[in-house]
């Protein structure tokens, strides 16, 4: 393993150096909560952040993204696609969010590749951060198997106390340390410190899901007609907050806008939500998912089954943002456990069955 040691007091200089070549995005305080935002100096960056309101999805798949501009002023209509290739570094990504990026990469690569996502992704360098304590009372990454970072990082930071250990995962990661001489090679003693941090961290996280999460797709299959969905439908306000804050929700709407000339303008995509009324409406007015219960079921099936089966990675990374954002406290942990409880008869009911 190639690793470097960055003293914490050198962070400011490192960020200054990076800013010459990259837009830097990282966790920073915005009023009372943390966000991924532009980092101009090391003072703004807080690598001990709990969790952010929105995941780094907002950088890779912006809430609003231009697809093309058009000009229909003359005889020929000009359509010019737009791509964002600004070199960007996202600093301090938690493991759960790294797993969500693995999923997004597969979604926008497989089948028909999405050049808008891919252009931005190719020009983005991911600097992940080792999670050494639980970041939120809502998170359940340990249960989802997303507490260890996937291999897609370019650079991975572990906080060793007074220094950071930087593991290099790719050439993009190497580039971040190019011509920066305030790092030194990691020694055996540093790796010993790393091992200590790694072995101690697990006890700071708890398992919150009552069963082995690899059983989730099968559990959902058995629970398609469960009453749980009706109960959820009765509670859900259909506000869509869960989708918006979810790092693995990527559904979008496509819209046009024109400028004052009415001849030129653009087409853009915006985040959409399967929980909103009219998400599955067709021209004749028929709504293929008009019940909130059906929409909630669709959401949980996407997270726990469809995405996993299609892309081979977990569709819910256990960040807990949706549970925190939900006004009526709908939490994936509660739903998964409730589905499991209803499928697996308790000892008492088993006795009843046998009696």
């Amino acid at each position: 393993m190639i690793a470097k040691i960055l003293p914490k007091h050198a962070l400011q200089n490192w960020i200054e150096t990076l800013r010459e070549h990259y837009r830097i995005i990282g966790p920073k305080l915005a009023q009372s909560q943390f966000i991924f935002g532009d980092i101009h100096s090391a003072d703004e960056l807080d690598l001990s952040y709990p969790t952010t309101i929105l995941p780094p999805k907002k950088v890779l798949l912006p809430q609003r993204e231009d697809l093309f501009h058009f000009d229909a002023t003359g005889d020929t209509h000009i359509v010019e696609p737009t791509f964002d290739d600004e070199p960007t570094v996202i600093l301090g990504i938690h493991a759960c969010d790294m797993h969500s990026i693995t999923l997004l990469d597969r979604v926008f690569e497989r089948g028909t590749a999405d050049q808008h996502y891919q252009t931005r992704r190719e020009n983005t360098t991911l600097v992940s951060l080792e999670c050494i304590k639980s970041c939120s009372e809502y998170s359940f990454c340990k249960s989802m198997g997303t507490l260890s970072i996937p291999e897609d990082f370019d650079l991975h930071i572990t906080d060793l106390g007074d220094e950071y250990l930087l593991e290099i995962g790719s050439n993009k990661g190497v580039s971040l340390l190019w011509n920066f001489n305030e790092v030194r090679e990691a020694t055996d003693a540093d790796f010993e410190r790393l091992n200590k941090v790694m072995s101690e961290k697990w006890s700071h996280f708890t398992y919150r899901v009552d069963f082995d999460i690899t059983e989730l797709p099968a559990l959902l299959s058995l629970s398609y007609d469960s009453k749980v969905w009706e109960e959820l439908g009765d509670r859900c306000l259909a506000c869509g907050a869960c989708n918006i804050v979810c790092p693995t929700c990527y559904c979008f709407d496509v819209r046009d806008e024109v400028d004052f000339s009415l001849c030129s303008g653009g087409r853009f995509r915006v985040w959409d939500s399967c929980q909103l009324d009219r998400f599955a409406v067709v021209a004749g007015g028929h709504d293929f998912r008009d019940a909130r219960a059906a929409r909630q079921r669709h959401r949980f099936f996407r997270k726990g089954k469809y995405l996993t089966e299609k892309y081979g990675v977990v569709g819910c990374v256990g960040c807990g943002r949706c549970a925190q954002a939900c006004l009526v406290h709908i939490s994936p942990v509660d739903i998964f456990n409730e589905l499991h409880r209803r499928r697996v008869p308790s000892a008492a009911t088993q006795e009843e069955i046998l009696a």
Binding site: L67, F68, F70, A72, T76, H77, V79, P81, F83, V107, F108, G111, T112, A113, D114, Q115, H116, Y224, Y250, C251, F252, D253, V254, R255, D256, E257, V258, L262, G265, R267, R269, D272, C274, F279, A280, V281, V282, A283, G284, H286, F288, R289, A294, H298, F301, K305, Y306, E309, K310
Partner: protein
Amino acid sequence: MNTGRQMTLEAPSIYQPIMLSILEITSMTEMEKVFTIELPFPTSLEHRPGQFVQVSVLGVGEAPISISSSPSRSKSSFELCVRRAGALTNALHALNPGDVVGVRGPFGRGFPIERFRGKDILFAPGGLGLAPLRSVINEVLDDRSNYGRIIILYGAGQPVEMLFQDELQEWAMREDVELHLTVDKPDKKWKGNVGVITTLFSDIQVSPRNTVAITCGPPVMYRFVLMELLGMGLPEGNIWLSLERRMKCGVGKCGHCQMDHMYVCQDGPAFSYAEIRHLEEAL
């Protein structure tokens, strides 16, 4: 197969429409017009019957529209039958020949017509459902000797709402096509059957295992048509449908057309009933 340049694969962005001229616009009914779109050489559509394109009016938006012309007749142009139903389709209806529209596609899986060769084919379109099925009907008629009986059961609300009336007459004249029409509300001149499309099924006898049925219509129609077809003894795999959804991307990303785990824009819009019967969100 046309060896020309397929449109969408060439574009730097999968969301970028190719701008094409409208060659001709024919009013079918008060609500529907047929747009003939020019394909300047070497552009080609290379679609399969049952596929759709995403049609744009710049500044208004984009919507999925099924291709109405058959591949056998879509060399230098293709046809879209469009009902005025929303912002995009209203904007389309306001256009004139010579105006340009944006086109992406073709997308989706069409009908596997090679597998239907040698079989009797029963078409059961309802209303606007004739638009996508006309593509299959003409493809099959242009290769007539490779198929058995061709039966078309077409139902519309009123006689004036019947689409492609010239072609309906042509089909009625052909001895190798069995055409049966029905309307819910007849006018004074109507001499044919009155009633919903299912009332036509009692007029025909089929050999169930050698018949492929292809149906397309409003969501409410499927349940009743399926009951008739299954009742006639057609295997579920011999019954084909074209499903409608409001695709925003056409390439399996945007999520709008998802039904259970399937994406209508990728896995369909043509499905056999055997493929979707267990999906609660399909019909």
